[in-house]
Structures are given as structure tokens and as C-alpha cells.
């Protein structure tokens, strides 16, 4: 009886009694949700274009952020460092496609997936070897990102909006809008969508698969760099981010593996869900720390009822 009360009544009483806490939690959920969306977006881009489930996306986020900080530490101005980091990501995309993916064309998907786990391992160890393993501060002010915060009084309390969070949401929205434009209005973008639709048909009208793959891995690299900057501005650049990035997997399950809107909506659902659950249910009943698994358990339940996700293509395949 007490447990039922704790589950079904008390959380809502707290929500009504402390609206500022609720709003603050929702805002935090929104911010981390945007970042999950960004990481998931990188997965979706690559999965759509090449059918590769890129396990290395999480470490690409860390690697991009580390490269940026590392290049800046050499004395390069911040914006040029961003350009150079983009160059590094392009080189990485080219190398992965040429060295790993091209020889593995036509192999079962699971082999490609395992090869990206191998890439993950190389990038983790290589990143630590080149840039060092200790956490580093992101060059937030040098990049012109705002710091500080504003308060908003509501219901007898205050809600704090960190300016970097607002900027993060705006930048993420801009990036997604930019990608949408790129996909719909440019020649390369249309070629990308053609490849995503049907590899063989795209090949037969003269689209170079290898070129498209490099482009799409580079696009995923750009998304990774953005996610890395925004995430690291909130905390630090460290390899712990890589575990957080694994949460993009449940986001994908929720949104569907091939849907860009799905990645965004799924990210927001996971972001809101895990913050609210941890505050109102996880901490009082289960003793806190539920954020590490909440997303995965939601994905597990979701998979049992709707395996194709919210927006994914329905697979007509009985198992």
C-alpha cells in the first residue's frame, strides 16, 4: 500500500507542490535530450546510407572534442582549430571507409558491426595515447559560447537556465535544419537519400557508393564534433562521455533506426523520461542512480511491443 502510494500519488503531489523543481527538471531533461538526439543522429545518418550500425559514434564524439581541445592547446586560434578538427574528422571518415568498410562490402551486417567495435577500441586507445587520458576543460569562451545563467521566478521558486544550455538547443536545431536543407536541396544530399533508399538502384544511375559513404561518415563526424563541443561545455572532455553516448542506442530503438525525426523525438523522450523518473520515482523508491539504466530498460520494454520504433520502417519479418 505504501509502495503504491509512493508510485502513484506522492510524485504527483511533489510536482504540484514544487512547480519550479518540475520545470527545472523538464528543462534539464530537454537539454540532455537534445544531446542524445545529436548523438543518435550520427548513428542514423550512417545506418541509412551504408547499413552499418556504427558503434564507434559515441567515441567519435569524444575523439572530436579531444582533437579540438588538443589542437587549440597547440596555440591555434579557436575557430581555426574547429576547421582543423573538421579536417581530422574528414580524414578519419576517409580512412574508415577505405580501409575497413570497402573490403567488408557484402559481408553480413553483424561483421560490419563488429568491425566498428574494433574501430571503437582503436579510437579509445589512440585518443588516449595522442591526447592523454585525463579530463580536459572545453574551450567554451574561446569559441564564443555564452556562459552564465538567467533566473525565472515561478510559483514561489526560481528556475535556472544556463546560457550554454540555451545555446546548445539552438545550435542543435540549426544543425538539424542545416542537415535537412543539405539532404533536400543539394545534389550530394539527394544522392545520399537515393543510396539510403536502394543501394543497387543508386549504383545503376551512376552514384559512387564510396564517395557517398565518405560524405556520410564525415557528416556523422560533424554531428559528433557538435555534440562533443556542446556536451563537453557542460562538463569536461573525458572518456566517460563515451558511456553516456551509448544511451543513443535506446534512443534509436525508440525512434527507429532509419528515421531522423525519430532520433530527435526519441532523444527528447529519453531525456525527459530519465530525469523525471530519477527525481520522482528513482531516488525515493530505488535509491537513486537510475539514470544509468532507465533508457535501456525503456528500450527493452519498447522492443517487446514495437520493435520497429516510433518512426522506423516496419520490417515484415517474423522471428
Amino acid at each position: 500500500m505504501e509502495l503504491l502510494r509512493q508510485i502513484f500519488i506522492e510524485p504527483f503531489e511533489t510536482m504540484i507542490a514544487l512547480p519550479d523543481l518540475l520545470l527545472q527538471t523538464l528543462w534539464e531533461g530537454f537539454v540532455s535530450g537534445t544531446l542524445y538526439s545529436l548523438i543518435a543522429l550520427g548513428f542514423v545518418l550512417i545506418f541509412k546510407a551504408s547499413g552499418v550500425f556504427n558503434f564507434a559514434q559515441g567515441i567519435m564524439v569524444v575523439f572530436a572534442a579531444l582533437a579540438l581541445v588538443g589542437i587549440h592547446a597547440l596555440g591555434v586560434p579557436a575557430y581555426i582549430a574547429v576547421l582543423l578538427t573538421l579536417g581530422v574528422m574528414a580524414l578519419l571518415a576517409f580512412t574508415i571507409v577505405r580501409v575497413v568498410l570497402k573490403p567488408l562490402v557484402n559481408q553480413p551486417e553483424i561483421i560490419l558491426f563488429m568491425s566498428t567495435i574494433g574501430i571503437t577500441f582503436i579510437l579509445i586507445a589512440g585518443g588516449q595515447l595522442i591526447f592523454g587520458g585525463e579530463p580536459k576543460a572545453m574551450i567554451t569562451t574561446e569559441l564564443g559560447l555564452p556562459t552564465g545563467s538567467s533566473d525565472w521566478e515561478v510559483g514561489g521558486g526560481i528556475v535556472i537556465f544556463q546560457h550554454i544550455d540555451i545555446a546548445a538547443a539552438l545550435i542543435a536545431a540549426l544543425l538539424i535544419a542545416g542537415l535537412a536543407l543539405f539532404f533536400n536541396k543539394t545534389k550530394t544530399g539527394r544522392a545520399l537519400r537515393a543510396v539510403a533508399d536502394d543501394h543497387q538502384a543508386a549504383l545503376s544511375v551512376g552514384i559512387s557508393l564510396e564517395y557517398i559513404w565518405v560524405v556520410v561518415w564525415f557528416a556523422a563526424g560533424v554531428v559528433a564534433l557538435t555534440a562533443g563541443i556542446l556536451w563537453a561545455a557542460k562538463s569536461d572532455v573525458s572518456f566517460a562521455l563515451q558511456v553516456v553516448a551509448l544511451k543513443a542506442l535506446p534512443v534509436l530503438v525508440l525512434g527507429g533506426f532509419t528515421s531522423i525525426p525519430g532520433a530527435i523525438v526519441g532523444g527528447l523522450i529519453i531525456g525527459f523520461g530519465e530525469k523525471l523518473f530519477d527525481l520522482y520515482w528513482g531516488s525515493p523508491i530505488l535509491g537513486g542512480g537510475t539514470e544509468s539504466w532507465f533508457a535501456f530498460i525503456i528500450a527493452l520494454i519498447f522492443l517487446l511491443y514495437r520493435p520497429e520504433g516510433l518512426f522506423g520502417e516496419k520490417l515484415i519479418e517474423r522471428i
Partner: protein
């Protein structure tokens, strides 16, 4: 030359379907067992047994567990570390509750707990496969890691949050705890691994194992031929988790002596997956080879690389950098093997054997 099967006739069906049909193979197996049980503990020192051979055996067992699931049934899993943890914590709680019972019984019994948990997290595999399964097994990994921290009953309300292995005896010999000798622990690990490998090889070549492989190769065809996916998949999850659970119990009781959550984190899941990929998907021999490479290579690089780099280049590297180098080498080996020889070291071994059989002719 010496590896010839000429003149070895098989007169019965039993001889034809024997595990090691060639006489030399039988000889080698007995020789390996003799080396493992007699020569290694006799000549090996404390470090060699405790830091190389015991972990190698523990990881071999975990790799066999994962290989049953991934290599034989085609269901990929990243929850191995957590299932090992379930075994370790179950064994710990049981031996605290009943200190007088032979610890070996509990080591095997802990696999049963792990199997139950594994079956629960394997339920989604009935509706999904491939990458989606990665997500559900990661759910198991993160949820169980959380449970190992947040449920104090599991580590007996210790202040440290770690499990400490108490001293236990089996057959009148001290086998666990600080005063157990490395030789005894090694012999027990080896015996468990040999028994369970023999068991696994029999399951795999039997009806259940064949149904697993049918599911792996083509699930729809398997279903049409009368294999029930429910039983096949869940039994694979159960057996696989059983092996992982026993491996986890061995890891804590025979090797580490004390363990925290970090001993079962998802890095271990990756490590075991790499052993399976590198050794060979769907091969028991591959589990041994993969575990040997992935466990022993970093140890060797850590010892040998820094002095070599010091000697021939102006740079110096410390042992943690050497670890990173071995990580990179392992990552590169994974990619290279997937490209060149997706069936891993076990396949290379089979090729070598085939060459030996027909030597000096090419085929």
C-alpha cells in the same frame, strides 16, 4: 610427415563420429592435458599461475559462454560482464549462508542463478535480433551494474561495497581466500574448464546444439523444420549465461580474491567479445586461442615494449602507454581478422592442420 591419417580405418559408426577421429589428435589432447595438469603447476611460479594461467582459464570459460550465444546461435551480446557478476555475487551469498558446504558445489550452482537472469534478459530475442539485441543486453549490463551498487544485501552490507572472498575448503584443502596456494587454485580452474569444455562440446554436437546452429544459419528455415525458436534461443541464453556465471564465480574466488562493480563493467563484456571474434565464432578451440591472445598479449607488451622502445628510439613509454598500444593492436587485429579471416584463429589452425595432413603436396 608425422600427422598422417593413412592406415587409420574406421570400422564402426562410433569411430567415424568420434570427437577426435585421428589418432594423433587423441595423442595431442592427452599430451595437452598432461602438460596442463602436471607440468604447468610443477614448473610454473606464483606469478605465472596467478596472473597468466588462471585469468586465461577464467576468460576461456567466459568466451565459451559468449561463443555459445554469439558464435553458435547468432545472438550478439554485450552483457557478458554483468552475467559474470551475477555468478560471482550468487556464489558469494551462498557460501556466506552455508560456509560448510564444498565451495565447488556453489561455484557450479552460481551458474544457475546467472542462467535464470540471462534467460530473463534473453526474452526480447524472441521478437528481435541483430543490433536490437545489443541494446537489450546492454540494458542487462547497466541494470545489473546498478543493482550491484545499490542493493547492499548483495555485498553483505560491507562498508567498502566490495565482496571479499572468505577462506573455504574443499576435500580438506584450502582452495579460496588469501592462504590458498596458486597451484591449488589453478588445478581447480583447469578442472572446471576441462569438464565444462567437454560438456559444451557434447551439447553442441547434440540435438540442442544443432538446433542453435539452425537458428543461427536461417531462423525461418529452422522453424519450418521443427526447431522451436523459443526453446532454442532461451536454452542458448541459459547455457551461455550459466558458463558466464561460473566464469564469474571462478574469477572472483580463484583469481581476484575480492571484487567490486568495476570487475564486471562493460569493458569486460567487450574483452570477452573480442576473444570470441579473434578466436573464431562457432569454435571451442577458438575460445582458448582468443583468450590466450587477448589476455597474454597485453601482459607481454607491458613487460617487453618499454625496454625495447627505450633501447632503439629516443622516446620512453610507461606501462600504461604500453597498455594503450596493446589495445590498439587488438583493435587492429579485430578489423584485420574480420576482413581477412572472419572465422578467426581457429580457422587458421584448421588450415595449418589441413596443410600438414597433405604435406608435402599442396592438396
Amino acid at each position: 610427415m608425422f600427422y598422417r591419417e593413412a592406415g587409420q580405418y574406421k570400422a564402426t559408426y562410433e569411430a567415424d563420429s568420434a570427437k577426435f577421429p585421428i589418432f594423433q589428435d587423441k595423442l595431442f589432447i592427452w599430451a595437452y592435458l598432461a602438460i596442463g595438469f602436471i607440468a604447468v603447476p610443477f614448473f610454473g611460479n606464483e606469478f605465472f599461475l596467478g596472473a597468466i594461467m588462471i585469468p586465461f582459464l577464467v576468460f576461456t570459460l567466459a568466451a565459451i559462454g559468449l561463443n555459445i550465444l554469439t558464435g553458435f546461435t547468432g545472438q550478439i551480446s554485450l552483457g557478458t560482464g554483468a552475467f559474470m557478476g551475477v555468478g560471482a555475487y550468487a556464489c558469494y551469498k551462498m557460501t556466506l549462508a552455508y560456509p560448510d558446504v564444498n565451495i565447488l558445489i556453489f561455484i557450479f550452482a552460481s551458474g544457475i542463478f546467472s542462467a535464470i537472469v540471462g534467460m530473463f534478459f534473453g526474452l526480447p530475442s524472441l521478437r528481435i535480433k541483430g543490433f536490437y539485441l545489443v541494446v537489450t543486453t546492454l540494458a542487462a549490463q547497466f541494470f545489473l551494474e546498478w543493482a550491484f551498487i545499490r542493493i547492499p544485501w548483495l555485498y553483505n552490507y560491507n562498508d567498502s561495497g566490495a565482496i571479499e572472498v572468505p577462506q573455504r575448503e574443499a576435500f580438506g584443502i584450502i582452495v579460496t581466500g588469501a592462504s590458498a596456494s596458486a597451484e591449488v587454485r589453478y588445478i581447480i580452474c583447469l578442472a572446471v574448464v576441462v569438464i565444462m569444455t567437454w560438456f559444451a562440446s557434447n551439447i553442441i554436437s547434440g540435438r540442442i546444439g544443432r538446433s542453435w546452429m539452425m537458428i543461427r544459419d536461417m531462423d525461418i528455415a529452422a522453424e519450418l523444420m521443427g526447431v522451436r525458436p523459443l526453446y532454442a534461443k532461451l536454452s542458448a541464453f541459459a547455457v551461455s549465461s550459466f558458463y558466464c556465471g561460473v566464469a564469474g564465480a571462478l574469477m572472483v574466488f580463484m583469481w581476484l580474491g575480492a571484487a567490486e562493480v568495476e570487475s564486471f563493467d562493460y569493458n569486460h563484456s567487450f574483452e570477452v567479445l573480442f576473444m570470441v571474434i579473434l578466436g573464431g565464432l562457432g569454435s571451442l578451440l577458438g575460445c582458448f586461442l582468443g583468450a590466450a591472445v587477448i589476455w597474454i598479449l597485453p601482459v607481454m607488451i607491458r613487460d617487453w615494449l618499454p625496454p625495447i622502445v627505450d633501447a632503439i628510439t629516443p622516446f620512453t613509454i610507461n606501462s600504461s602507454q604500453a597498455d594503450l598500444v596493446s589495445d590498439i593492436i587488438i583493435g587492429v587485429m579485430i578489423v584485420v581478422f574480420l576482413i581477412m579471416e572472419p572465422l578467426g584463429l581457429a580457422r587458421l589452425w584448421a588450415i595449418i592442420k589441413q596443410k600438414l595432413r597433405v604435406w608435402p603436396f599442396p592438396y
